[in-house]
Symmetry: C2
Subunit: 148 residues, 2 copies
Amino acid sequence: MVDPQARFEELTKKLRERGCRMTPQRVALLRLLTSAEDHPSAHQLYERLREQFPTTSLATVYKTLSLLYDMGEVLELGFGDHEARYDANRPDEHPHLICLRCWKVIDGRSSLLPNQVQEVAEGSGFQVTGHRLDLYGLCPDCQASEGA
Amino acid sequence: MVDPQARFEELTKKLRERGCRMTPQRVALLRLLTSAEDHPSAHQLYERLREQFPTTSLATVYKTLSLLYDMGEVLELGFGDHEARYDANRPDEHPHLICLRCWKVIDGRSSLLPNQVQEVAEGSGFQVTGHRLDLYGLCPDCQASEGA
DNA sequence: GTGCTTGCAAACAGTTTGCAGATAG
DNA sequence: CTATCTGCAAACTGTTTGCAAGCAC
């Protein structure tokens, strides 16, 4: 959907404009984020980053992720009882499909219409600024291996 | 929407049928849950329970909550970075409105239509078994006191 | 009496923070 | 040169677990 290379350059540019420094670790993390297709967790990113930088730490990953999050450049999918997943390719709000067995996360097809959002909030007096729609179920792989 | 007394009796009955014991603490917690209008957190329930049972513990609250959860009788709204909220009055799936300032949680008006859910999952091969829709924003109280 | 429940404390997972040394600009 | 970043360890929050004593049935 999004060209990884273009997104990488966009993020790099925005970070530089913010006065951030592009350390090798950070560059590698941006590469991982923009080329990831699987909504990785901080820990997964850490594992992948460690292949290139064996001494890197989880804290470094978290620090850059929260930096990007504050800039609105990464979507954070927090769950109550699992590690959060990150999406730096489509920082706009969109639905996700989450497999309850293997915990795979993929993007949903369409998005919620603004008037639907208003409908849900109607009568509440809420001033709605954002939303999140998650569908839970079984991914194709896990349906196939069900019961195993 | 739901009669607290009727819901209380329903939960009591289902727990008994499961072979669970109705201790005074548990009865009080069921009362709190069925009469709560505000989607309380485990900690809030604990505080309220402690007014009647000063020596009760958070663990007890969690244990009964997860028991109800396993029975499908309570909705758990987990967040990545705040305590989970519980709704034992409407264990069916329905949208919620969440205030980002005071963290108030109220029920949304309408529900997602099954064909909308299918639309989002279309082409993914996912077998969808559930969903969750949260709207974020400012509640009326917090809009009034904004900037304070 | 049996075994589920309580309540305490300790463990736990994911995330955040503090800080000294390293390094990008 | 200086401010940011790294990487380690320790702190932190919300939740879960182990276990001995208590209590519902």
